[in-house]
């Protein structure tokens, strides 16, 4: 009884462990604030937000389509394969096929992912297509890693099946087809179903393989979550997970309950009914899947594929006070559909396929690897320079033509405030930024901003702030965060040392690297989006981040009586020395003339302040909270009212002479030599072990030695025993070693038998 109680307690503990994080995410899905680290009160806000977020719903739909299709294909191919392999006579062929089949299961996902990516990129190179990565490739990848699981669950069923049964059926007059359907299929059906479910589950949750093989405006849920890293993982993802959890829980419970009843009382009629039910369920699934594909094609649909940073557009979500923001993509669909329909004289539907990425480097990797099919992308300054240089984006128009093409382009002209005079260069700084000032216009600026340092005013003393050296202050060891991307992290050290961020000498590179290595022991962690939770909860005290985001952290923290401060780092001469960045909309090189027209319409719409369509430019500026280069935005009184003084921080660089900041401190496209140095230095920094902790290695070594010793002990003992029994009773041992599941067991049994025998004697 005691044992029973102990085992029950143990079981409960393990389940608590398994469900603790799930309980946490269910709890935070009802949080009234956007924090995923601290509960601020109950609300259904995130559920409402979830259903109004078209991009997330679209990602969910994509994930489901992908999971259903890939698991169906894998189940069909896999079942056939299991049938074929099972009937194979040639043992070597059989073994070979089984070995190859198991490869995706034994191979780490990351290797499977990259190996497929390499294949697709190569094939793309041969057929000279820049758009090889897409739905097709990710589907192929999913089928591939699903196959072994299907085969593994179907194969044993074929093996277990009595070979004589189909023969008997044939003898009794069944045709081979009938014998397969009536005799063989029902027996292997449980295997097929469990294989299908396994495949479906794996496909649904797969992130790593999709991450490397996806492209072309196709976004699955895991990828969407991953790309939220520049801003933050919002609790609507928690809400979605909670809903999925509840739905699956109910489904499983239902199937459990009904399954039990069915088995007991299954008449012929009920069997028939169940068959009908199964068939109709499958046809419903098939029909919906088909419908999802075809459904939209009855009316003419224009799709604009937009690839933007995570959380970088006003998406209709609610703010803290429950006021819904403008869903800019939806407004564009409305506007452009009306426009096109009027122009063409027939009904045309417009769809924005909006997908997201986490960093410039991700975007570049995708474009370079051949993930085409994007019509509008939003890279940052230095990346735009690089994309132009490598011919990966196309001119939107020539500089003379641009105002005819993009109607709202002049909104980007700067306006001198009262009494100020500006040169032509100064007024055109947003139209002719350093990264795009040639004959042709490649980009239209979306937002810009400045990097500063956010700190916890309760713990960080006033005299320490002011410069970049705060990030190196030993006093705050373990409370400092650093960027988890090469360019920004190295930037902080370069600004600190007063090094030219765009062309350091070899010596300076080394100094910068040393500076960061020196910093590593006092850094708590290298982060991107985690900075929000960590600063807002007081987990960390000091972090470099982008101004607009810093403000949103300050507001969140205020509600919890944590005082955060923010400043732009200055050098000893009192000049602001920090990074100014700009993100701008561009059109990839492979976009066709026809799609380009739609892309231009989208870009134009992003600059628009048309109140009939929710003033998209203003809505975005309010949502993103970075500086807007659009003068219709920063002169707008209601916008300034919303900012309520924050413009002092967000727009600080304007006062501080943006031209100079742009020209001196913005990141430029690095020469290939510098880029290689940056990457290899980042590599060095990341692999440098600051916190070398031998304990882990020692524990591992001790356990490994213990296991080896144990195995050796068992082996020796077995050998010794065999020898012992061989002398006593050759037959017993012969029998025992003859392929029974385990020698040990037969040893035990033989010993036992012997013992009991000798007892009797």
């Amino acid at each position: 009884m005691k044992r029973k109680a102990a085992s029950n307690i143990y079981t409960v503990l393990v389940f608590i462990f398994l469900y603790m994080p799930i309980a946490v995410l269910i709890l935070f899905s009802f949080n009234s604030s956007s924090s995923t680290g601290r509960f601020d009160g109950f609300s259904l806000r995130w559920y409402r937000e979830l259903f109004s977020d078209a991009a997330t719903m679209n990602a969910l739909k994509n994930t489901l389509i992908l999971a259903v299709l890939s698991s169906i294909i894998a189940t069909v191919i896999g079942t056939l394969a299991a049938y074929g392999i099972n009937k194979m006579k040639n043992r070597h062929l059989k073994g070979g096929i089984t070995a190859v089949t198991n490869v995706p299961m034994m191979n780490p996902e990351i290797v499977t992912g990259i190996s497929m990516m390499l294949l697709f990129v190569f094939v793309g190179g041969i057929i000279n297509s820049k758009t090889v990565l897409g739905f097709g490739t990710v589907l192929i990848a999913h089928v591939t890693f699903n196959l072994p699981y299907v085969i593994l669950s179907v194969m044993p069923k074929f093996k277990q099946m009595d070979k004589h049964l189909p023969e008997a059926a044939l003898d009794l007059g069944c045709t081979p087809m009938q014998s397969f359907l009536k005799v063989e299929l029902p027996q292997i059906l449980p295997g097929i179903i469990s294989g299908f479910i396994m495949a479906f589950t794996l496909s649904l949750d797969d992130f790593i393989i999709s991450y490397f093989t996806v492209g072309s405006g196709f976004e699955t849920l895991p990828i969407r979550i991953y790309s939220m890293t520049k801003k933050r993982v919002t609790p609507d993802m928690y809400a979605l997970s909670t809903l999925i959890f509840v739905v699956i829980m109910i489904l499983l419970l239902l199937s459990n309950i009904s399954g039990d009843k069915e088995k007991k009382t299954l008449t012929l009629k009920q069997k028939k009914r169940r068959k009908i039910a199964i068939i109709s369920t499958f046809s419903v699934i098939a029909a919906t899947t088909l419908g999802l594909f075809i459904g939209t094609s009855f009316t003419e649909v224009v799709t604009v594929n937009v690839y933007n940073w995570g959380e970088y557009i006003s998406d209709g979500g609610e703010d803290e006070d429950g006021v819904a923001s403008v869903d800019v993509n939806k407004e564009f669909e409305k506007y452009y559909s009306k426009y096109l329909s009027e122009q063409k004289g027939r009904k045309i539907k417009v769809k924005v396929n909006y997908t997201t990425y986490a960093s410039n480097e991700d975007l570049y990797a995708k474009l370079k690897a051949g993930a085409g099919g994007y019509d509008v992308i939003v890279p940052s300054d230095y990346m735009i320079e690089r994309l132009i240089a490598e011919g990966l984006i196309q001119p939107i128009a020539s500089r003379e033509e641009i105002t005819n093409v993009i109607k709202n382009y002049d909104y980007l002209l700067r306006e001198p405030s009262d009494g100020e005079t500006m040169t032509k260069e100064e007024t055109e700084i947003f139209q002719k930024p350093f990264y795009d000032n040639g004959e042709d216009v490649y980009s239209v600026m979306y937002t810009y901003g400045v990097v500063g340092i956010i700190y916890n005013a309760d713990h960080v003393s006033e005299e320490d702030i002011g410069g970049w050296d705060l990030l190196w202050n030993e006093k705050y060891k373990g409370k400092i965060l650093q960027f988890n991307n090469a360019r920004d992290a190295f930037g902080t050290a370069m600004y600190k040392l007063g090094v030219n961020v765009n062309d350091p000498t070899a010596e300076q590179w080394q100094d910068v690297l040393n500076e960061l290595i020196k910093q590593k022991p006092i850094v708590q962690s290298y982060v991107m989006d985690e900075v929000f939770n960590k600063m807002e909860s007081g987990e960390a005290w000091i972090a470099p981040y982008y101004a607009g985001d810093a403000l949103s952290m300050i507001y969140q923290a205020e509600d919890r009586n944590i005082n955060l401060g923010f400043y732009y780092p200055q050098n000893e001469e009192g000049e602001t020395v920090t990074n100014v960045f700009a993100d701008a909309m561009c059109i990839p090189a492979d976009v066709s003339e026809e799609q380009k027209a739609h892309a231009i319409a989208y870009i134009d719409f992003m600059l628009s302040v048309d109140e009939n369509y929710g003033s998209p430019a203003i809505a975005n500026a309010e949502y993103i909270y970075y500086a807007s280069p659009n003068r219709m935005v920063y002169t707008n009184s209601s916008y300034l009212e919303t900012l309520d003084g924050d413009e002092e921080i967000i727009y600080a660089p304007i006062e501080n002479n943006i031209d100079e900041l742009f020209n001196t401190y913005a990141y430029r496209n690095l020469s290939s030599k510098n880029l290689a140095t940056l990457n290899s230095n980042w590599e060095t920094l990341k692999v440098e072990s600051s916190s070398f902790n031998g304990t882990i290695y020692i524990i591992s070594a001790v356990i490994a030695i213990a296991i080896i010793a144990f195995i050796v002990f068992i082996a020796v003992r077995r050998k010794y025993r065999r020898k012992l029994y061989w002398e006593q009773s050759p037959i017993a041992i012969k029998k025992a070693s003859k392929n029974t599941p385990s020698d040990d067991l037969s040893d035990t049994v033989t010993i036992a038998i012997k013992r009991s025998k000798s007892n009797k004697d």
């Binding site: 029950n8 079981t11 462990f17 994080p21 946490v24 995410l25 680290g37 191919i77 056939l80 394969a81 049938y83 074929g84 009937k87 089949t101 034994m106 780490p108 996902e109 990351i110 290797v111 990259i114 190996s115 497929m116 390499l118 990848a141 591939t144 196959l147 593994l152 949750d205 992130f207 790593i208 895991p222 499983l252 480097e361 991700d362 990797a365 370079k368 988890n484 991307n485 708590q524 962690s525 290298y526 982060v527 909860s537 987990e539 990457n679 590599e683 072990s689 304990t695 591992s700 356990i703 490994a704 195995i711 599941p741 385990s742 040990d744 035990t748 049994v749 036992a752 038998i753 009991s756």
Partner: protein, 276 residues
Amino acid sequence: MNNKKSLLQRAAAAPHIVWSVLFIIAPLIFVIYYAFTDSEGSFTMENIKNLAQPSYLEIFLRSLCFAFLATIICLIIAYPIAYFITKASPKTQKILIMLVMLPMWMNFLIRTYSWMALLEDSGIINTVLKLLGLGPIHMINTEGAVILGMVYNFLPYMILPIHSVLSKIDTRLMEAASDLGCNHFQVITKVVFPLSIPGIISGITMVFVPSISTFYISQKLGGGNFDLIGDTIERQFQTAYNYNLGAAMSFILMILIIISMTIMNKYADDDGGVII
């Protein structure tokens, strides 16, 4: 008739064979090709040599140790629970197994994210500990947190195969053993455990392989301080665009796994099959 049938049977596996050649073997050839060429496409050993520097060796060693410990801990936690589940009534068993599988349906990125909320210095666990007067314990961004993340995410992969093997053991064997004088402990060590080895093997495989190659868990729970092989490979492909070095690492990782698995299968006296 017979001939025709065997043709049909051979054709049944054909789609799968074609698929395997195209999408399993061909991609692996590309990994090997990239691992041994430079960016111009000529043969080189430079990538492999590059990996021999101490910092990379440490990453390999660290990944190996983390994955090893995670696997051992998973095994220690999973074995008793799998055993207890088999002792329950069939209906409870079904429900318990369902409960083990259920977390796998939740997105693993989200689950890892919510561990962050639990483990932080000002997180939920520490808040509770503080209330109990046990003081805050620093957990996030440590080796322990990364290993915990691995254990959490891959534990079901250990429980399920072990349970599936245990539940198939003929209970009469245990009865016979205890009738013949084995005590409870001996029944487990002499009868149950040896018979469950195939399940343990497949459980170990299914935990070890994803643990050694993960990159998200170490980024989120390790604070980017403990680079694992997965992180390094991901960086080569997503930020450094050094496909060749990345392929070389993948290649070594594959070799590493093949070696570990061979050793394990050899010592475990098993036919090497993976059972689900």
